[in-house]
Amino acid sequence: MMSRTRRRQLNRAGRAVLLCLWAAFCLLPILWFLTVAFRARTEIGVSPPVYWPHFTLKPWHELWNAWPVGDYLRNTGIAVIGSVLLDLVLGIPAAYALSRFRFRLRDDLGFYILSTRMIVPAAVAIPIFALFKNMSLLDTPWALMLIFAAINLSIVTWIIRAYMMEIPVEIEHAAMTDGAGRMTILFQLMVPLAMPGIVTAATIAMIFGVNEFLFTLLISYTPSAQTMSVGLAMFTGGSSGIIFNLIALMSFILFVPLCIIVFMIQGHLSRGLSMGAVKG
């Protein structure tokens, strides 16, 4: 019979093997895609497939010279940053009202905001298209900004609400005794105290904004409005087929900064992804 320590060691080794296998499943496709990004097109779509290519920087130069990547980046920046700011302007006061006031309709309004997270984007695509057409905003990053803000407002409001709920009411009482008004309290007390929640909410909204595909595909159709997410789907130029190495390269341009940002807030990520419902 195996000794207890020996069995425990085996257990631990088995667990480590499983964890490494899962890490391989998560990371190997990304590493392989990285090799796709830095190989010539002659080594893509060949049989048998090439695992370890002759690395070249040609795709990098081709990407910047022949494709409007700068435009895609600018549009992504305008739409995503603008939408996050708009969400904070609308979401912070709403979160404050939901977390600190008792008023009729509070729960109904709060859950109405939450329910907009559950709408099927494709189902509102046609009216949204018509709406932006009437406003002459089609094919502009501003339309994307407005739509990203609408998509993420529920998430932003609910995350910040969850963080504000945890701030002790006594702090506010003290400030009021000192004569501070409601708005002073909101901006000089609640916002700084709820800052981890605000940063988390902004990061999650940013990720979803960067990722958005359906609306961006529908209401932007030239490099004057397209974002990275949809821009890379344009690399399917006619006779040359799908230009996989440039697509791979494009995807890493935003993947790297996103990893860094998420690394910094990773302790809050579970809270953010569950819209504030699960504590991280």
Binding site: R15, W22, F25, C26, P29, I30, G45, V46, S47, L90, P93, A94, Y96, A97, R100, F101, R102, F103, L109, Y112, I113, S115, M118, I119, V120, P121, A122, A123, V124, I126, P127, I128, F129, L131, L146, L153, T157, A162, H173, G179, R182, I207, V210, N211, F213, L214, M228, S229, L232, I242, F244, S251, L258, Q266, S270, R271, L273, S274, A277, V278
Partner: protein
């Protein structure tokens, strides 16, 4: 209102001057704070709904509109491709959700007591931070007929003897969607489950272990019931995103072969924006919207109310 600011400031009856200085009554303040967000969202949900209902009653083609009443809805009910898209959505979403939940829970259970849990979590998060359109292209290339590295690996491992035509076979094509989605979004569930497990009271588990309970007993009888609210919320959020799946369909298969990977989202897109049959697509939108509103209300009442109030 939980706190009355004025009671601590104003002494005696509120004077006329003070009333003029104060911009809004404290009673109205919460409504004013929440109004901008609600109005914004109403504009972007209520307007589309009304517009969709109206459009769905017309035949819209070449810039002309003809009143058809319930015609579009009648057409939908007898349209094989619509029912097919519903079935596809349920199948792909259901299988993906089951696989993702199992894997995420398994990995979370393996790792949550580990010394390097933060490091593992960061590694396991990576797929989620890739743009979905890039993920779709990545898996498309890996499954690409004739040059697929997945086929190559499977053949070398001796698991299959011939090249599989991933995008030509109805079962395999749906399988590619599931594999890509599992790869991309299992991390989402994993992160939430991990937080749930870490937040659990360990003493109960320890007590069970002392009483000689096996790990699967502890899991079924203690861990899982305690994780119920977390599971409900995580599965709800993931479920919604699965049912709305669009990007992968649009990039990997275009709904093919023969519509066997076309989801409801893609059905609406194809009819509304590729075949310009906007009235018809709007009718499908209205049906989907009504279903999602009912589902959202039920889910919110059941899971979010208890977890967040």
């Amino acid at each position: 209102m939980s706190i009355d600011a004025d009671s601590t400031v104003a002494v005696g009856p509120v004077s006329g001057r003070r009333r003029a200085v104060r911009l809004v009554s404290p009673r109205l303040l919460p409504y004013l704070l929440i109004a901008p967000a609600v109005i914004y969202l109403l504009g972007i949900t209520l307007y589309p709904f009304i517009y969709a209902v109206r459009t769905s009653l017309y035949d819209v083609s070449a810039g002309m509109e003809f009143w058809v009443g319930w015609g579009n809805y009648a057409r939908l009910l007898t349209d094989q491709t619509f029912w097919q898209s519903l079935l596809n959505t349920v199948l792909i979403a259901g299988v993906s959700l089951a696989v993702e939940t199992t894997l995420a829970m398994g990995v979370a259970l393996l790792v949550y007591n580990d010394r390097w849990v933060r490091g593992w979590r960061m590694l396991y998060l990576a797929p989620m931070l890739f743009m979905p359109s890039a993920v779709a292209f990545m898996w498309k290339l890996m499954f690409f007929p004739g040059t697929s590295i997945i086929n190559d690996l499977l053949i070398h491992a001796g698991l299959v003897s011939d090249q599989l035509n991933w995008f030509g076979n109805t079962v395999l094509a749906r399988g590619t969607m599931v594999v890509a989605d599992v790869w991309e979004w299992t991390p989402f569930l994993f992160v939430i489950f991990l937080a749930g497990l870490q937040g659990m009271d360990e003493e109960i588990e320890e007590a069970a272990k002392l009483d000689g309970a096996r790990w699967y007993h502890t899991f079924w009888l203690i861990t899982l019931p305690m994780m119920r609210p977390v599971l409900a919320i995580a599965l709800t959020l993931r479920g919604i995103d699965l049912v709305t799946m669009f990007t992968k369909v649009s990039i990997m298969t275009n709904g093919g072969p023969a519509g066997y990977t076309e989801t409801v989202s893609y059905f609406i897109y194809r009819n509304g924006f590729k075949q310009f049959d906007q009235g018809y697509a709007a009718a499908a939108s209205v049906i989907v919207l009504i279903f999602t509103v009912i589902a959202a209300m039920t889910i919110i009442k059941r899971f979010f109310r208890t977890a967040t109030l």
